[in-house]
Amino acid sequence: MTLTGFFLQLLQLSIALLLAPVLVGWVNMCRAWLQNKSAPSLLLPYRMIRKLFHKDAVVAKNASPIFRLTPYVVFGAMALAAAIVPSLATDLPFARAADAIALVGVFALARVFIALAAMDIGTAFGSLGARREMFVGFLAEPALLMVLFTASLISGSTSLPTIVETLAHREIAIYPSLAFAGVAFTIVSLAENARIPVDNPSTHLELTMIHEAMILEYSARHLALIEWASALKLFNYSCIGLALFVPFGIAERGADWQAIVAATPVLVAKLAAGGFALAVIETLSAKMRIFRAPEFLGTAFLLAVLGMLVNQLLGG
């Protein structure tokens, strides 16, 4: 790893860390607009995180070290994933460190730790949320892998930078397989990021909650890290989606810091469009019963597998 590479990676990571809470704020803002409410500030998630960092943390008496460790592990995993995902440039030192399958593994690591921490305290809500999270996770993960395999089949590599470079430079053509994979990926990211048809991100008071139920016991800096990690997760999924399906405007091999700075407005524009689409989906759909989730995610798996099969048959 050269010094320049290290510096560029640091630049990309800090842009990702800064953009992630804004993305969450933007989605909330769009959702409020669509529902005819006055929107909260774009910077509200920042203020939230700052406020939480200034508070004193309360930890339950019977909490084990796992409970204290989890926020750091989850945040670390999401930050690592943000460094791996080619959001601004493809030729960064970390991007070559892990391929798409390992990336799914990093997400799984965060999931396992947050579920363990939720069960650690022994509250009813915590274990309920953890069980549901694993339930959704085991349905969503195969679908996500299938989506990544479809893109890998087209580009002939499981390494995300290679996929992006191949997809960005192919001839303009209609790829039914990519369309299938795109819809499947949308469904998976809705489920993974605790968004509306599967979970509701804006409620603490429902028996139906999944993600919120797991983090009920956290406070102060722990909660801040977890919230920031969820924002990063949304950012990562959005960037994977953009890299696979709209891979234009990403700085490529041999890029210097100017190219990365130039790629930032493109990324912001794409994220803004994606966030708005997410808000539209969330406004238009109602939360489904938890036992309908297998059907919903089964559809994603089906679409992803169909995308792969169609790709094999039609040759792209």
Binding site: A173, P294, L306
Partner: protein, 222 residues
């Protein structure tokens, strides 16, 4: 992959859409939505036939595209809607057994038919030969739909959508059948629909329901 003409790409896209609609029909519980899906499948079929007609310059395919449009997008759904209104089963919801399981069986069927069609497709010389597999898969999926459904109307829709799959194989893979054959098949489907409509009324008259499990009681000597 690099030199596929635009029309062939469009055919491939429509083929994929056809397959997707077949899966959607497999999973759909409501009868009314099922009919809409069937009409959408007819529309995709008519579009693909029209594109093949334009690309190959065969005028009789325009006729067959028009015929598909009139018959499968307008006439048959209209007849079905009218039947449903008359039979008063508008809100019929079917208790399907385990949709994810059915979907998995569907995926297995798709893999099977893709494998089956692959050697056949190698023999064909048309650009869109790869779609034979998809056509065969949608025929298989319609079969599956007829097997898993217990009510009469979804079974009939399964039968009709099977014909869609066959027709798609004929147009996209071999650029159409002779006009006489196409007219014959179209007429067959129409007549079958009318006769089955009469059957619906007879079945309901006998059993007060369109659930076909009652037909098992028809054995003699009971």
């Amino acid at each position: 992959m690099t030199s596929t003409p635009l029309w062939a790409q469009l055919i491939n896209l429509l083929a994929a859409l056809l397959l997707l609609l077949a899966f959607a029909m497999l999973a759909q519980r409501r009868v009314l939505t099922l009919i809409d899906l069937f009409a959408a499948q007819g529309l995709a079929l008519a579009c693909s036939t029209g594109i093949v007609a334009y690309a190959t310059g065969q005028p009789h395919l325009y006729w067959s595209a028009g015929l598909t449009l009139v018959l499968k997008v307008v006439l048959l759904p209209w007849i079905l809607h009218r039947l449903i209104r008359k039979l008063d089963v508008r809100w019929d919801v079917e208790g399907l057994i385990n949709i994810p399981m059915t979907m998995l069986i569907g995926i297995v069927l798709v893999v099977f038919s893709f494998n089956l069609a692959f050697p056949i497709a190698q023999l064909a010389s048309t650009v869109t030969r790869a779609t034979i597999g998809i056509a065969m898969a949608s025929v298989m999926l319609s079969f599956l739909m007829m097997i898993t459904r217990r009510k009469a109307i979804p079974q009939v829709i399964g039968f009709l959508s099977m014909e869609n799959g066959l027709f798609f194989a004929a147009t996209s893979a071999t650029y159409g059948m002779p006009m006489v054959v196409e007219l014959g098949i179209a007429l067959d489907v129409l007549v079958a629909m009318l006769i089955l409509g009469v059957f619906f009324f007879q079945i309901r008259e006998q059993f007060d329901s369109l659930d076909l499990k009652h037909l098992e009681k028809l054995k003699e000597g009971e």
